[in-house]
Amino acid sequence: MDPIKPIRDTVGKNLWKQVEELEPNFKKGGMLQSLHSTFDAFKTFLFVPPITTQRGTHIKDAIDLKRTMFIVVIAMIPCLLNGIFNVGHLHYVANGMYPGFWEGFGPKILYGLSKVLPIVVVSYGVGLGVEFAFAQYRGHPVNEGFLVSAMLIPLIMPPDIPLWMVALATVFSVVIVKEAFGGTGMNVLNVALTARVFIFFAYPTYISGDQVWIAGMSDNPDAYSGATVLGVWAKQGFDAVKQVGFSTINQSVGYAPIDMFLGFIPGSIGETSKLAVLIGALILIWTGVGSWRIMLSVFVGAFVMGLLLNAMDLAFDFNNPHLSVPAYYHLIAGGLAFGAVFMATDPVTAAQTTTGKYIYGFLVGVLSIVIRVLNPAYPEGVMLAILFMNVFAPLIDHYIIQSNIKRRLARG
């Protein structure tokens, strides 16, 4: 029933006493007044505070924002683990070593950790620093939402991204996209995606092309090429991906659908494995924390658009090899799955009405494929599609609300 009862009984009471003794220092007039929000954040992390209901309902559901955000972080762990492995795996494979899964497992993990961990640390450290500062300045408690954003940011970065760029992008997205709009719950755009889009437009060479998706490759750029699936599709068409996926020193390795599903392909750190994303999705859906409506409709939208483009390819001669990619391949290629599960479902920036969620998700899917296939400049479209639909989500809700109002008027 209570797994940590011994700890609670021994440590809990004394620790709380200490916390209470320390607290005056952080209150108004105390020595460390300027760290009040930080203190409060750690205090409420350690202890659910002894607050009782004063107005309204006398009892409240066990759920709170900490638990909700914790579940989302848990759901991202498979993607993170896969990312750590894959970064190391591709690094060694591209250098002609350890082609098997278990071969060189330890070195692969260590290499992956050496690449991924610093990005995670920078993202959390810088982002939370900004959050704490704003909470202090505004006199608000620190909101837990950034715990999720800070985990999302590393997962959508290429492994070789310079850390200062991660820091800069994080500061930009927290300050300009979130705090400037009023903080957690008020932002229009997805915070993590904005960090990525910031780098995408400010430093495009670090986050696009064929050179950035395999860690350590930029040191020796002439030796091989490591395009993403979508990079190959965009340039050479669908069939090429099976042969020339990426070339190593010795050989050229193609991407089979199973590679795309399991995620042993170049890409951003956390998005390559559809299996890991699927596990995350199941956690989010089972706990009810993520909206299955949005996830489902993103995939439906992408699939429908893929079919439409296939039909167009048959009917007309567009000379765009990307058009002929079978629709279902779109679902396991690129960041669509990751975006659908972890980005499009952000409740603050998605549509909030039930019907609105279906429309919003569907359009995210459609736009992703439109950008992917029809825009020659950007091989992947899911990031821009989600941000675009973030902007339109309130409009979708507006029309849903208006129809409710009309229904009520018609009744009278």
Partner: protein, 453 residues
């Protein structure tokens, strides 16, 4: 004619301490009180008509509101006004009456209900205090004597947590209930709707009554809320007025005419995990709970709630039930810090969220709930939660935002006239961000009432 209305949205919070279908013997309350705060829309400083030491009879007026001097707020018993308790800014919190051992009522002429005229019904209800049995929608406030409602709604089902069973309460009141319905039928131009729990065996009073349209509801709480039922039976449009009344008050209303006395009987369910013997008590409006809970508690660190855990009001151990209350709930105060409580909860607690999978699917006899908020208030983040527990064609989040923005047209468009704060109690319960939804809804209803005059 009757039909079944199935509602899927909502949530039944399982709590220990459901009342046994048993009436406590020999219960009497020494003091009774009338509290202005029980009546939505009443000014906090009503005009007092008594002072301390005034002798009153049941049905004697204690105070009235300047907005409508015809509506008298009356004493439920005979005795002496022993205290007029005042709170902040001289607001009247409670008028407390020490009851005589033998209760004498103001007496009115006995009448045959069939021959009654609307005017004399209204007149007698206003001067006896029985008028307050009626509540009007929109705004969920005391009914306006000048209105003729398009319908009157009665719910025979309290679906709220540990709510009293009206099939038990109404036992033996068959003829009073029938007579009360006859009285009510003269007040409305339309129908009288009686809604019952489809999964229960209705009391004889409900089963045999003539002159009402019966509706069967099925589903989790709030399916028993009259506001939800109105929405599904005959929703309130702009400019329309409906009245609601509790079934026991329908019977009490009949007594005012058949016997000519004001006798606001309250069959109160004493409930909750901290009560040793949860059962029913027959008493009168505003009774003290002191004698119910004495030697009847599992723990001393408790909260006494007049009403249910969602919409009730906190009272003291010697406090009094409110005008509309038929339930008292006693639960533990949850004011202990909980080490890593969001990760490893230290005791089971109700939740609708699968994020605490261990508790969401468990179907125990009930939880020993506490008053802990289980987390701090946060900005609104999670969407789609309120919708799951509000079985109405209403967008709760957008209605709340319209209220906060004081956008009157939007509030109207989104259905403010159809709601009461009690319908949103579960929204507040399930809210991840711990937002006080009911306060916001009441604010919105008060704005609209003020705006429309």
């Amino acid at each position: 004619m009757s039909k079944l209305i199935r509602l899927n949205k909502g949530y039944d919070i399982k709590i220990q301490g459901a009342p046994a279908s048993k009436l406590s013997e020999g219960f009497t309350s020494r003091t009774y009180s009338v509290k202005p705060i029980d009546f939505n829309g009443l000014s906090p400083i009503p005009k007092l008509m008594v002072s301390e030491q005034t002798e009153v009879k049941a049905g004697d007026p204690l105070f009235y509101d300047k907005s409508d001097e015809r509506i008298h707020y009356c004493s439920p018993v005979s005795g002496e006004v022993v205290e007029i308790r005042r709170g902040d800014k001289r607001a009247v919190e409670e008028v407390i009456i020490l009851a005589d051992s033998e209760i004498r009522s103001r007496s009115w002429e006995k009448k045959d209900v069939a021959s009654l005229q609307r005017d004399e019904i209204v007149q007698r209800m206003l001067e006896s205090g029985a008028w307050l049995f009626l509540r009007q929608r929109p705004y969920d406030i005391a009914a306006n004597p000048d209105d003729t409602p398009k319908a009157i709604f009665i719910t025979g089902w309290d679906s709220s947590p540990l709510g009293p069973d009206y099939n038990f309460i109404m036992q033996g009141r068959e003829s009073d209930f029938q007579a009360g319905i006859q009285v009510l039928s003269k007040l409305t131009s339309g129908k009288i709707h009686l809604s019952l729990n489809a999964k229960s065996k209705p009391a004889a009073a409900f089963n045999t009554v003539q002159g009402v349209e019966v509706h069967w509801f099925q589903g989790p709480h709030p399916a028993g809320n009259v506001g939800i039922q109105i929405h599904h039976i005959d929703p309130i449009n702009k400019g329309e007025v409906v009245w609601t009344i509790n079934p026991e008050d329908v019977a009490n209303l009949a007594v005012l005419f058949t016997e000519g006395i004001y006798s606001p009987v309250r069959t109160v369910a004493l409930t909750g995990p901290e009560v040793i013997k949860p059962q029913y008590y027959k008493t009168l409006q505003g009774a003290s709970i002191e004698q119910m809970v004495v030697n009847n508690l599992q723990d001393n660190h408790v909260r006494f709630i007049a009403g249910n855990v969602l919409t009730g009001k906190t009272i003291g151990q010697k406090g009094h039930i409110g005008f509309y209350d038929r339930q008292v709930t006693v639960i533990l105060e949850g004011d202990e810090p909980e080490l890593l409580g969001w990760l490893f909860p230290s005791y089971p607690r109700p939740t609708k969220s699968m994020a605490y999978w261990a508790y969401a699917n468990e179907a125990p006899a009930g939880y020993r709930v506490t008053t802990s908020t289980h987390g701090e208030e946060r900005a609104f983040v999670v969407s789609g939660q309120y919708e799951q527990v509000l079985p109405m064609d209403i967008y709760p989040v957008h209605l709340i935002k319209a209220i906060m923005a004081k956008d009157f047209d939007l509030m109207e468009g989104l259905g403010i006239y159809e709601v009461s704060e009690e319908d949103f109690a579960l929204c507040e319960f399930v809210c991840t961000s711990k937002i006080n939804v009911m306060d916001i809804i009441r604010e919105g209803l008060d704005y609209m009432h003020e705006q429309n005059g």
